[in-house]
């Protein structure tokens, strides 16, 4: 019974990682850049929805939509101002710029909303009790898993089915060739960022619903964990991000329960290293051998 309870904790945590990893992996898959500011967009999404609920008294669904709107605009603006000028620059330069954006968002949030932690009002409260209360699964976790699955299905369908999705895949294959085929590469990448940031807003709301302390640094560690999850599952692969996130959460919870609470993170990372040694492109990633 305790094992089941640990497992549930793991799935709850993992579903939050998964939803963040979905945004990470999509942006990476299309734009081929590690957007280290993704975690901080999540934090902004959390604050926007917090303000909408607590200060403006808006219903939570409106708050979520507002957060999505603000984050989408923010994502497109960041992309346009900070990343687009560097499209032809080495990928490391873009990585550093993304880190700069991450610092910028954190410090702007600190000035705007103050340093004190804010307790997030639960969008969904309560828990499902099983076995006469011996096991409990919070509705927030159930919602997170459900939203994850919906987003995963929708994203997969969009990218593989729609015309814009095809354009995205073309950009990801070869930007130059895509341009020659009449695809507006800049607009396509902007769209990728718009979708990624809207997902970040949803992730922010769900992260804060499950773990309700909101601070300017709230996004950074989940961001790194989600990046790890995305790599774990095979970066660029949408089902991989989901699987990677879930597994990461479960491993973390079980490591805490049975091995050491102090080394939980280390154990997660050690498992990641082993997985990458066996499957160098992650669980579901495609390994492309280098050719001459």
């Amino acid at each position: 019974m305790e094992f089941l309870s640990y497992l549930i904790s793991g799935v709850s945590l993992g579903s939050v990682y998964a939803i963040i990893a979905l945004g990470y992996t999509m942006v990476y898959g299309i734009a081929k850049m590690l957007n280290f500011a993704h975690g901080d967009v999540i934090m902004v999404g959390g604050y926007i929805s917090f303000c909408a609920i607590s200060y403006l008294g808006l219903p939570s669904i409106v708050a979520v939509l507002l957060a999505m709107l603000v984050c989408t605009v923010l994502g497109v603006v960041i992309e346009g101002l900070a990343y687009r000028p560097l499209r032809s620059a080495p990928s490391l330069a873009v990585l550093i710029t993304a880190i700069g954006v991450s610092y910028l968002l954190q410090n702007a949030a600190l000035l705007l909303w103050g340093a004190g932690g804010k307790s997030y009002p639960s969008v969904v409260s309560g828990a499902l009790q099983l076995f006469g209360g011996q096991l409990s699964i919070s509705y927030a976790s159930i919602l997170t898993v459900a939203v994850c699955l919906v987003i995963m299905a929708a994203l997969s369908a969009f990218i593989s089915g729609s015309k814009l999705g095809k354009a995205m895949r073309a950009c990801s294959e070869d930007k130059g060739a895509a341009q020659l085929m009449g695809i507006n590469v800049n607009a396509t990448i902007s769209l990728t960022f718009a979708i990624g940031s809207a997902l970040a807003a949803v992730a922010g709301v769900l992260l804060c619903s499950s773990y309700p302390t909101l601070m300017p640094t709230t996004g950074s560690m989940p961001g790194i964990k989600a990046f790890t999850a995305a790599v774990f599952g095979g970066i660029g692969s949408i089902p991989g991000a989901f699987l990677g996130g879930l597994l990461l959460g479960i491993i973390e919870a079980l490591a805490k329960a049975y091995i050491s609470t102090s080394l939980a993170n280390s154990i997660v990372f050690a498992v990641l290293i082993v997985v990458l040694l066996v499957r160098p492109a992650g669980l579901l990633g495609k390994y492309v051998p280098e050719k001459v």
């Binding site: 904790s9 607590s54 997030y120 309700p212 560690m221 973390e252 919870a253 329960a257 609470t261």
Partner: protein, 394 residues
């Protein structure tokens, strides 16, 4: 290629010149500061505060800066012989940045230091202040390593051992037969320091610790595993020696699980009731050791809380109160030693070190605070319980 090299060279030259310029321009500036002090009619002592004003722990450093500022404003407005000039610097909770910030304050002519706010930086800065002979009074860095072997470093807050021991003693006395589980933050010097002395004293008092678990800054989101394990071990009391941001998560998650032990916190737990958006009913019955309570009835606390709210829009926590007290302690010490504002930092330091053990100061965080030569404060930690969203004495 050549152009790049040229650019690098130009930058390098600019750097060296820039450094030189910094150096030479700073020294006269400091000198000017000194001369203007002597010539000005009102002689003000120059004090500095240090703490994280940015980053994940900014809340504590900002509270210290704000609390000290209120005290300085009050003292200056009252217009006695002793006037203060205050400067607050950011150390991002990093020892290196803290030493840098301390040096900046010294460059700007600081005579006494109120800070640093957090333990790690305070350990690093106290060593430098000891060599420099600068008087240092930390409002909130509670480790004994901060004051050990340094005659000119004093604390306003309780030491970690003091808190850990007091918590264990309190539990042994008032909660006999309790089965205690401890959750602490394994990468925080503060949390680990209290846990170590708590467990040691629990052993002496025969208090039963049934389970111990940790978390780190990087895993401070999910506590349900630790809570499940503590529950499975049969713990009916949970000792939480860490800060309220994390504690609020623990309370939330325990509530979601339907696990309701007695929660026992230390001074870091203070602030939980005023956390924005926090459902205070979750904190019902939580016990904590705190030197300060924002809803205390006495006039001084109420004025302080009112002023703080007016100026900064929040309810002050114990860090702000500690810093406020620190400034008044400095004032009392300066009065007792007869220091004047034209004395150097080292001269003031020697005089203050002499008078500190003779002082007894009433403040927001304790009445009749006294110090021994080691630098530790002697005041009684107050155990309170949260009822209906306010602290009450049990």
């Amino acid at each position: 290629m050549k152009k790049k090299k040229f650019f690098a060279l130009v930058t390098a030259m600019a750097m060296v010149l820039g450094l030189a310029a910094c150096g030479s321009s700073d020294t006269p500036a400091a000198d000017e500061g000194g001369t203007s002090d002597e010539s000005s009619t009102v002689t003000a002592f120059k004090i500095g505060t240090l703490g994280p004003l940015t980053g994940g722990t900014a809340i504590y450093g900002q509270a210290v800066a704000n609390g000290a500022k209120i005290a300085v404003d009050e003292i200056n407005a009252a217009g006695g012989d002793i006037q203060f000039e205050i400067q607050s610097e950011d150390d991002t909770n990093d020892p290196e940045a803290s030493v840098n910030a301390y040096n900046t304050l010294m460059d700007d002519g600081m005579q006494m230091l109120v800070g640093p706010t957090t333990t790690g930086p305070a350990q690093a800065v106290s060593a430098v202040a000891y060599t420099d002979r600068t008087f240092m009074l930390t409002p909130s860095a509670s480790s004994t390593d901060v004051i050990d072997g340094k005659d000119n470093v004093f604390q306003v807050c309780f030491t970690d051992p003091n808190q850990g021991t007091a918590a264990a003693d309190y539990m042994a006395e008032n909660m006999a037969g309790a089965k205690v589980a401890v959750i602490y933050q394994n990468d925080s010097a503060y949390s680990q320091g209290i846990r170590d002395t708590f467990v040691a004293e629990a052993g002496v008092q025969g208090l039963e610790v049934v389970w111990e678990g940790t978390f780190t800054k990087d895993t401070a989101t999910d506590f349900s595993v630790q809570l499940t394990a503590a529950q499975a071990a049969g713990a009916d009391t949970l000792f939480l020696p860490f800060y309220y941001q994390e504690a609020s998560l623990v309370l939330n998650q325990a509530d979601a699980m339907g696990y309701a032990p007695t929660f026992f916190g230390v001074d870091g737990m203070d602030g939980i009731l005023t956390m924005e958006g926090f459902d205070t009913s979750l904190a019902e019955g939580v016990m904590l050791l705190t030197p300060f309570s924002a809803d205390a009835e006495d006039e001084r606390t109420q004025t302080f809380v009112q002023t703080y709210q007016d100026q900064f829009g929040e309810i002050p926590n114990q860090f702000a109160a500690d810093a406020y007290d620190a400034v008044y302690i400095l004032k009392a010490a300066l009065e007792a030693s007869g220091c004047t504002a034209d004395m150097s930092a080292a001269e003031i330091c020697e005089k203050l070190v002499e008078v500190m053990p003779t002082l007894s100061v009433d403040g927001l965080t304790g009445s009749g605070m006294t110090w021994d030569a080691s630098g530790a404060v002697s005041k009684a930690p107050m155990a309170v319980v949260i009822e209906n969203g306010v602290y009450v004495l049990p």
